[in-house]
């Protein structure tokens, strides 16, 4: 028996919060078969669930491992719903380049920020880890991204973040691209020192910071 739209939306959200990957996909199919629009399913179902998960993360009830599994469930539902999105819903999304700076391969934090920012509506261009510094600048230039997010967990590689800021200046696009940084050894003070536009301590804060920097409410 198919549920009402509200029931199914609530169930989609619940699947994400409860980390039920297969059930999220099944519920998304059920939702579509009942004739409801994909866009609402994403925004008021899956994304709503991810927002609840990030609130739990903020409250220290959920931890990184939990959020990773929630995001798997969200992506599983997304895969079902996305092909059914109507064109007019494909609104212009802000682009951001994200990656772990050269010399470092720790990307848990980066992945988490990417998930949270995607959920919040950003189009994330993920360069992965151990990324040559020039590549951040080149990619921002090629794609017209307005934001670069840099992460590192190691003291030995944090200097690369300053280099990226310098390279943006050299490329003449420093005023067009905001730079936000994060990771274990990074601090607000360090962001100020190297001339980055902002620092965030965790993935939830990163979304707030990104929206602030690009004046999105």
């Amino acid at each position: 028996m198919a549920g009402t739209k509200e029931e199914l939306l609530a169930k989609l959200a619940e699947c994400v919060v409860e980390m039920e990957e297969e059930e999220a996909a099944d519920t998304a199919r059920e939702y579509l078969e009942s004739g409801y629009p994909a866009f609402d399913g994403i925004m008021h179902g899956l994304v709503e669930g991810m927002n609840q998960a990030s609130e739990l993360f903020d409250a220290e009830e959920y931890f990184v491992t939990d959020v990773l599994l929630c995001s798997d469930a969200m992506y599983a539902g997304l895969e079902v719903l996305k092909p059914h999105l109507e064109e007019e819903n494909a609104e212009e999304r802000k682009k951001a380049v994200i990656g772990v700076v050269e010399g470092d391969t720790h990307d848990i934090g980066k992945n988490l920020v990417k998930i949270m920012m995607e959920t919040a509506g950003f189009e994330m261009i993920d360069l992965g880890r151990d990324v040559p510094l020039q590549k951040f600048v080149d990619t921002a230039k090629e794609t017209g991204a307005e934001l670069i997010c840099l992460s590192t967990l190691m003291t030995t590689t944090m200097g690369g973040m300053e280099t990226v800021v310098e390279l943006l200046k050299e490329a003449g696009i420093r005023d067009k691209v905001k730079v936000m940084i994060g990771g274990g050894p990074i601090s607000q003070k360090y962001a100020e020192k190297i001339g980055a536009d902002g620092y965030s301590q965790n993935a939830v804060e990163a979304v707030r910071l990104a929206k602030n920097l690009l004046n999105i409410c």
């Binding site: 491992t65 599994l69 030995t156 003070k189």
Partner: protein, 338 residues
């Protein structure tokens, strides 16, 4: 006058000494800087694969007045590499790091090879310890191990690993058993070769990533298995954990190392209040060590003592560009205060 080794031994055993020791173990807690390499003309990445150079660089750390210990290796990739991960040795300024994982899932455990202590970089580390044992005295030799969770998440993709702790819980435990057994073998060989102290850094096994339940079930359980697996004939053990501790103080107190070390996000005062009976090590900001002044480092060092740190050390690995004047300021301050 106590030798650095006697001083550390006394502190580890909870006795009162003239002043706190000044230690930087090595491993993840890098204590080598560019200036130091230039001073003694021994460089990375060569020092990661050559026992002579590894020992010489470790000696320089003590002899040039930076820290009161020798320590090897200078990275946290030896164990993962020996089990089958591919490692890029980095450069003079970048640490070695894993570029290709050995397995895709905890259920592929069979594909892993046990650590061979007679070849590869495991042998380089053991040879370097033997050289230090023969050629030095007075300062403790620290052998470093990468912690169980951090090793496990270097042999395979960490995101998959973290998820499988829940999804393939039983197999994840089997995998952790295997990884821990390799670490025990490597640690025991380090002690046999002459290491006085074993320092275990587990930066990927944090309370922030795992949450209290998995921190207890995986990080604490396997750290203790590793500690229990080492022979008794040693001076002591140090465990360093990264990240915030407020959600896991109760769990971390179960870790049976002689010393606990935290990074700079943990307030030493708060750690002291929560872990009254433990020997604590830390945590002079590595940011200040790289970008601050000797005066600032002085001030932070005094703060660590005042807030209850028993062994003064950098909060994390040193940045390669940290000026020697800043690095030496910790020990200088401790000597002045004594």
């Amino acid at each position: 006058m106590l030798t650095p080794k006697e001083r550390l031994k006394n502190v580890m055993e909870g006795r009162v000494v003239d002043r706190p020791p000044c230690i930087c173990p090595g491993g993840m807690m890098n204590m080598v800087t560019q200036e130091l390499m230039e001073t003694v003309q021994v460089f990375m990445p060569e020092a990661h694969t050559n026992a002579r150079k590894m020992a010489d660089l470790a000696k320089a750390v003590y002899e040039k007045g930076c820290f009161e210990n020798y320590g090897v290796p200078f990275c946290m990739t030896v164990e993962a590499e020996e089990m089958g991960a591919k490692v890029d040795m980095g450069s003079m300024i970048y640490e070695p790091h894993v570029i290709e994982y050995a397995i895709n899932s905890v259920s592929e455990l069979d594909k892993l090879v046990p650590v061979d202590l007679e070849s590869g970089r495991a042998k380089v580390v053991l040879d370097a310890i033997r050289l230090l044992k023969q050629e030095t005295k007075g300062a403790p030799i620290v052998g470093n191990l990468t912690g169980p969770v951090s090793t496990a998440s270097s042999v395979m993709e960490p995101v998959v690993f973290y998820k499988e702790l829940r999804k393939k819980n039983k197999e994840a435990h089997k995998y952790m058993e295997f990884v821990t057994a390799q670490l025990i073998a490597f640690g025991r060989a380090q002690i046999d070769a002459g290491a006085d102290v074993i320092a275990i850094s587990d930066p990927s096994g944090t309370g922030e990533i795992l949450g209290p339940r998995f921190f207890d079930e995986f990080a604490v359980t396997y750290l203790n298995k590793l500690l229990d697996g080492l022979q008794k004939e040693k001076m002591g053990t140090i465990v360093h954990i990264c990240g915030q501790m407020n959600s896991v103080y109760k769990e971390i107190d179960k870790v049976r190392s002689d010393v606990l070390s935290f990074d700079s996000v943990v307030s030493m005062k708060e750690a002291r209040e929560n872990l009254k009976d433990r020997v604590l090590m830390g945590n002079v900001s590595t940011y200040a060590l790289e970008f601050g002044t000797p005066e600032k480092v002085h001030k932070l060092t005094k703060g660590c003592i005042k807030n209850g740190s028993d062994i003064i050390s950098p909060a994390c690995g040193l940045g390669m560009k940290s000026p020697l004047a800043n690095v030496k300021a910790i020990l200088e301050c401790l000597k002045e205060e004594a």
